[in-house]
């Protein structure tokens, strides 16, 4: 644990990627094997379930610190991180631990099943006996993720340096479902196991936003365009008569989308499709807001399945007939994908024959394959970039976020890479809104008011103009702007509600967002997608801000249907 705490401290105390990679590499060379596995698990968000809920953690920490609970809560609002707050307020002893990271994690796993009394005793003992930084790390292991600016990619790079195994191969090995409790470092990292790869997805290839004019990409004939659909990027894997659905966050989400189960009957084994899960209510593509109803639910009710069905919009084929084809050019992979769609539409697969035959014999109806929740994301080619730009203008109408530009000869790369794939989104929608509430940020910004609520003008029943909250945003300003606003907010607070302050309506901001839909969960009746501050309109006074009516006018007619 001492070694792990030291690693976290080093990672946390530098902003330099090279220093982080070196520290991690050194750790992977020095630490014990089980500790290494746990470290990989923790840094790839595979921590064990939380053994103690945060309500109890807060109560017990304030008890040990001998301060009232409200004072603990206030401190937490200001510090911005629960584990850090606990580590700071409980009494400090200058001792240290000899136990390993693995021992601590095993204890924490066992702790989950124990009584509150035992849990409290365990926490008190450790809080008292660990030094400040170990106490912070210990509590962090209990509360959740380490946000210390170490991406999985960065960790993989360090692991690759330490083990001399290729980075891409490691990225592949570390994906999927593995249990740090049972797997050894040998099995996870060093050994090659064919059977382990059954559920394993390929690392996603991600595109950067196009910042230059599209003409900078050269000959338009070398490029394939398709719409950029706004859903959940996923990989659907069919191997050994099983289906696995992975989201881009490397989460296995098969159970959340039962409608894909039937693919097993139509798509041959040894197939991996890269695509987008899209909401498809009433036979057309819905908004992200619709999809939100499905995200986060492990089991889906029948009524929800009917209300918000989903489809898979297929972009690419990564594995075909059991072979990794990511190195083939995009155009060839697409040909195979399109051929697969042809097959699905016309032939019945051999291993599935018996089932269908039984059905027909018992008088059941033949399943109509056009009902399969599977569509091809249509690719397009244009004669000029101007035509591409025209197509991009149609994006909102077609329910897409813009265009994807893919080079016809591009292989399927790992991670976010520049060059072969670009996303060319439509310009965001914007509206001028008034800053009405502010809250302190988290982590890096915990002592600044950086999380804001914005309002638009509306008329109440008495015909008076009033400001109605419509969105929250916390990104888009420079550090200097945040500091200026922070100072202003502290001097212009009207009321305090816990961590939130209402401020004098004074500042106008241009708020940009990607999508918009009617919503009954929002006070304004409108939900916006990914709102952020585009610029601080210091040239405008609050009466020049937009109205809720202006905002509603931006909703496309198709989204108003609901």
């Amino acid at each position: 644990m001492k070694r792990f705490a030291q690693l976290i401290k080093t990672l946390d105390s530098t902003n330099k990627t090279t220093v982080k990679v070196d520290a991690l590499t050194q750790y992977f060379l020095e630490a014990g094997d089980t500790d290494k596995v746990w470290t990989i698990a923790i840094l790839s968000h595979r921590r064990p379930p939380r053994p103690v809920n945060t309500t109890l953690l807060r109560e017990w920490a304030s008890e040990l610190a001998n301060i009232p609970l409200w004072l603990f809560e206030e401190s937490y609002h200001i510090v911005g991180d629960l584990a850090e707050t606990i580590a700071l307020v409980v009494p400090s002893l200058k001792s240290s631990t000899e136990k390993t990271l693995t021992q601590f994690l095993e204890e924490m796993i066992a702790l989950k099943k124990k009584s509150d009394h035992d849990k409290k005793q365990y926490l008190f003992e450790n809080w008292k006996e660990l030094d400040y930084y170990e106490r912070f790390v210990f509590t962090k292991l209990i509360t959740g993720g380490f946000r210390i600016g170490v991406s999985q990619k960065l960790m993989t790079r360090a692991l690759s340096k330490a083990t001399e195994i290729d980075e891409d191969i490691l990225a592949y090995k570390l994906m999927g479902n593995w249990d740090p409790n049972t797997i050894s470092f040998q099995q996870l990292v060093l050994e090659e196991h064919k059977s382990d790869y059954l559920s394993k997805p390929y690392p996603f290839y991600l595109a950067y936003a196009l910042e230059e004019v599209p003409e900078s990409l050269g000959d338009v004939n070398e490029w394939s365009m398709e719409h950029k659909w706004d859903g959940i990027r996923s990989q659907v894997i069919l191997r050994n008569d099983e289906i696995f659905v992975w989201s881009r966050g490397e989460e296995l989400v098969t159970d959340k989308y039962p409608e894909f189960e039937q693919f097993i009957s139509f798509i041959p084994n040894g197939t991996v499709i890269d695509g987008e899960i899209l909401p498809y209510p009433k036979g057309q593509i819905g908004t992200f807001n619709d999809l939100q109803k499905r995200i986060g639910r492990k089991s889906v009710s029948k009524s929800l399945l009917t209300k918000v069905p989903v489809i898979l919009k297929a972009y690419d084929l990564l594995e075909w007939q059991g072979t990794d084809i990511r190195q083939k050019p995009f155009s060839e992979r697409r040909q195979l994908l399109e051929a697969l769609f042809e097959t699905v539409a016309t032939t019945t697969l051999s291993h599935q024959k018996s089932k269908t035959t039984e059905q027909s014999e018992s008088g059941g109806t033949q399943r109509n394959r056009s009902d399969l929740p599977l569509q091809l994301s249509e690719t397009m080619q244009f004669d000029s970039w101007q035509e591409v730009a025209k197509e991009r203008e149609l994006s909102r109408e077609k329910h897409s976020e813009g265009l994807m530009l893919k080079k016809l000869d591009s292989p399927y790369l790992v991670g976010r890479k520049k060059g072969d794939w670009w996303k060319w989104k439509v310009d965001p929608l914007t509206i001028d809104a008034v800053l009405t509430y502010a809250m302190r940020g988290h982590g890096r910004r915990s002592n600044l008011f950086t999380d804001y609520t914005f309002a638009l003008w509306d008329e109440n029943e008495n015909g008076e103009r009033e400001l109605v909250t419509f969105a929250k945003a916390y990104s888009g300003l420079t550090d200097a702007e945040f500091r200026t606003l922070d100072a202003w907010i502290k001097k212009n607070t009207l009321e305090r509600f816990g961590p939130v302050r209402s401020v004098t309506p004074h500042h106008v901001f241009e708020i940009a967002f990607e999508g918009i839909a009617l919503s009954n969960r929002h006070k304004s009746g409108v939900a916006t997608r990914f709102p952020r501050m585009l610029r601080w309109r210091q040239d405008k006074n609050i009466h020049e801000a937009n109205s809720l009516g202006d905002l509603k006018a931006l909703i496309p007619n198709s989204a108003k249907a609901e």
Binding site: D12, S13, T14, N15, A65, I67, P68, W70, L71, F72, E74, S75, I78, V79, G80, D81, E84, T85, L88, V89, S92, G443, R444, R445, S446, N447, L448, D479, A480, R483, A487, K490, R496
Partner: protein, 340 residues
Amino acid sequence: MKSPLLEFTDKGIYCEKADVFLDPWKPVKKAIITHGHADHSRWGNKEYITHHRNIPIISHRLGDIKTTGFEWGETFIINNVKFSLHPAGHIIGASQVRVEHKGEVWVFTGDYKTEDDGISNPYEPVKCHTFITECTFGLPAFKWLPQKEVLADINDWWLENKKEGKTSILFGYSLGKAQRLLKYLDTDIGTIYTHGAIENMTEVLRPLVSFPPTKLVTKETTKKELLGNIVLAPPSAHGSSWIRKMVPYVTASASGWMTFRGARRRRAIDKGFVLSDHCDWQGLLSSIEATGAEKVICTHGYSDIFSRYLREQGYDARTEATQYEGEQGEMETSKSVSES
């Protein structure tokens, strides 16, 4: 109803009976000044009454001003109101102000800390009925380690950077923190270089306290001669072209705010040392207790939270808004150097 001995007005803390202000934020006739930081000693007052040791500081900062100096504990009477200055331990020449009228005693702390830093006269609790206290770090999350330990860490850090062939850049307020750091830097490790703002302020203070020698960083100073040595700079120099010329370097900041991981990361500083010239949580509580005061008025800092806690502990505590910047002051990076 009888008006209180000290009132909070739009110009500052006011004693009507003596017609004098304490650390006013708008120009007044007669001002009693606790210490030389810009938010406590502002420009434009007709007369500045302060401790002797603070006179060179405010004269340096504010130029040609009329000053009157007193010793610790020396009583001066204005319109039958008895005033005296008592060490606050915040920076060199920092005082608390004791105000007495007809047996009623108020104390205004200005900024203060309880630990003896070896260069400011150490804080002395003063018995009073009403105590006006800052509470910049009035949260239980703030706990200072003894300065000896922190300064040893700072010297270790410098030595380590030297071994790696890098220049150490240490940020601290040009008045107060910089001299506290300077006093204890280990000159066996290397040479101490200074930014102009710190060099000038230190020159002003050299007659009062003995400090190790320093070298001013000038246009002629080369990267090479800085390697392995340490540069003391005000926080505002962070990220400036002045610093960028010193590569390879490692940066650190010494401040109470370095308690928070977020504060250091937000400013992209390599290392944070928790060292403050204000009281920590326990320091505030023990000082308040030592004054024997029943009434406590909390000014700048986490005043709402702190006064609520005091009320729960049985004090008659409340908050008053001031324009002192204990909270933001030390955090601010874009502030001009001369203001520090």
